[in-house]
């Protein structure tokens, strides 16, 4: 049993986008605040802190996770993926990111990180989604700028492209 006292700070170690990171946190510190203000991974955004808007969505041990509804202490030792880990290299966008740019699937970009994480997680497991699947998946995210439809188009385009890329690989 591990007991962390209310007003003390304890080290939290986790793997962030395949890189080990460590910083101290009080028991009450949210994962969203930990990532942003302790680690400096500010790509994950905070929009409501009650689990509705989806801006803070990250992946913890393969599970889509609202980082505002998760304590930093809960993910000690876990693998966390955030928007900072999506691009294949700093000067190149991934297929999904490119599809977003091509389709103008973002405007202010504040909600985008969470949406990208949900889609990245989903498309890896569901390579040929229907539009209704994408709409169902993304109903857990709020976007105020785009009216959503360019996001759905980008997701479907990316899915098709990813499927084609996978086929090529398996053909090889």
């Amino acid at each position: 049993m591990t007991r962390l006292a209310a007003h003390s700070r304890y080290p939290v170690r986790l793997s962030l986008n395949d890189t080990p990171v460590e910083a101290e946190a009080e028991p009450r510190m949210l994962l969203s605040d930990f990532l942003r203000h302790r680690i400096g991974a500010t790509g994950t955004h905070v929009g409501c802190e009650h689990g509705v808007c989806g801006a803070c969505t990250v992946i913890v041990d393969g599970m889509l996770t609202r980082s505002c509804l998760t304590l930093a202490a809960q993910v000690d030792g876990c693998e966390v993926q955030t928007v900072e880990g999506l691009a294949p290299s700093p000067d190149r966008l991934g297929i999904l990111q490119q599809a977003f740019r091509r389709n103008h699937a973002l405007q202010c970009g504040f909600c985008t990180a969470g949406i990208l994480m949900s889609l990245d997680h989903y498309l890896r497991r569901n390579p040929s989604p229907r539009e209704a699947d994408i709409r169902d998946l993304l109903s857990g995210h709020l976007c105020r700028c785009t009216g959503y439809t360019p996001i759905i188009k980008a997701a479907l385009e990316a899915a098709a492209e990813l499927a084609a890329t996978t086929e090529e690989k398996s053909d090889a």
Partner: protein
């Protein structure tokens, strides 16, 4: 909007949870998926002194299909149950209704037992437990007991769980071959239900269970009714539920949905 301070206990054995609950009583809250509790902590609606995290306990994360019942441990997430290959065969009603619970992003973390513990009158899982006549497995350092669904939910966000008890698991009777149906009306997809209804065929007729209207999910068993007898029965039930107005719906609207959807679902189940 940050939580008030609390101690955090990461339990590594069920006994540690029980001891913690025994010692801290009402000052402690069990943290499972956190999809309801964490929002309440952030808003400072809940201010426990201690949080006991049970999600590292592998013994609580089992789904067992045994002796005519499916038992789901306290650590089983909603998404895990939804992805369980035996779900449609053993619990077809849950297979129908689980996609209505929150969103993909909350089902991935939220647990079955956590939703039951929270006992939101509009949540789907309490409704399903009542509809199927399931049992909640409670455990403390003092005792182990099982409480039937109808006894477990005693009011809005209030359950029969004593403060030193852990909801260790919940069990649903495995499917008996009868038909079942589920329908929910919410303002938007994924919202808490304005009215949710489940109909289940019983040996003598049908059971209709309604959530979102009264303080707890309410069930009614009827023989095979139709026509005006069914209308009267549904109307009586609708009026008994003590529906109320809120910003999303009126009491009358809720009663209308109970009458209309109830009739549709019973028709589906008894056809």
């Amino acid at each position: 909007m940050k939580p008030a301070a609390f101690d955090y206990i990461r339990a590594e054995a069920v006994d540690e949870v029980l001891e913690g609950l025994s010692k801290e009583g009402g000052n402690a809250r069990v943290l499972a998926g956190g999809q309801s509790l964490m929002a309440m902590l952030n808003m400072r609606l809940a201010r426990p002194k201690v949080l006991i995290d049970i999600m590292r306990l592998t013994e609580l994360s089992r789904i067992e299909d045994r002796a005519g019942a499916v038992t789901i441990g306290a650590g089983v997430r909603q998404a895990t149950l939804l992805a369980w290959p035996e779900l449609t065969r053993t619990l077809p009603l849950l297979a129908l209704a689980l996609p209505w619970v929150g969103h993909v992003q909350t089902r991935s973390r939220g647990t079955i037992c956590g939703s039951l513990a929270h006992a939101d009158p509009s949540a789907e899982l309490p409704l399903l437990l009542v509809a199927l006549g399931g049992e909640v497995h409670l455990r403390s350092t003092r005792r182990r007991r099982r409480v039937s669904a109808s006894e477990f939910f005693v009011g809005m966000m209030a359950t029969a769980r004593a403060e030193d008890e852990l909801i260790e698991a919940v069990s649903f009777p495995a499917h008996n071959g009868g038909r079942c149906a589920f329908r929910e009306v919410a303002r938007r997809h994924g919202d808490f239900a304005i009215v949710a209804c489940a109909a289940v065929a019983t040996p003598t007729g049908v059971r209709l269970t309604v959530g979102g209207v009264a303080d707890v999910p309410m069930a009614r068993d009827w023989p095979c009714l139709d026509g005006s007898a069914l209308d009267d029965a549904l109307n009586g039930f609708a009026h008994e539920l003590d529906a109320r107005d809120d910003v999303h719906a009126t009491a009358r609207y809720r009663r209308d949905l109970v009458r209309i959807i109830g009739r549709d679902l019973i028709g589906e189940v008894l056809q």
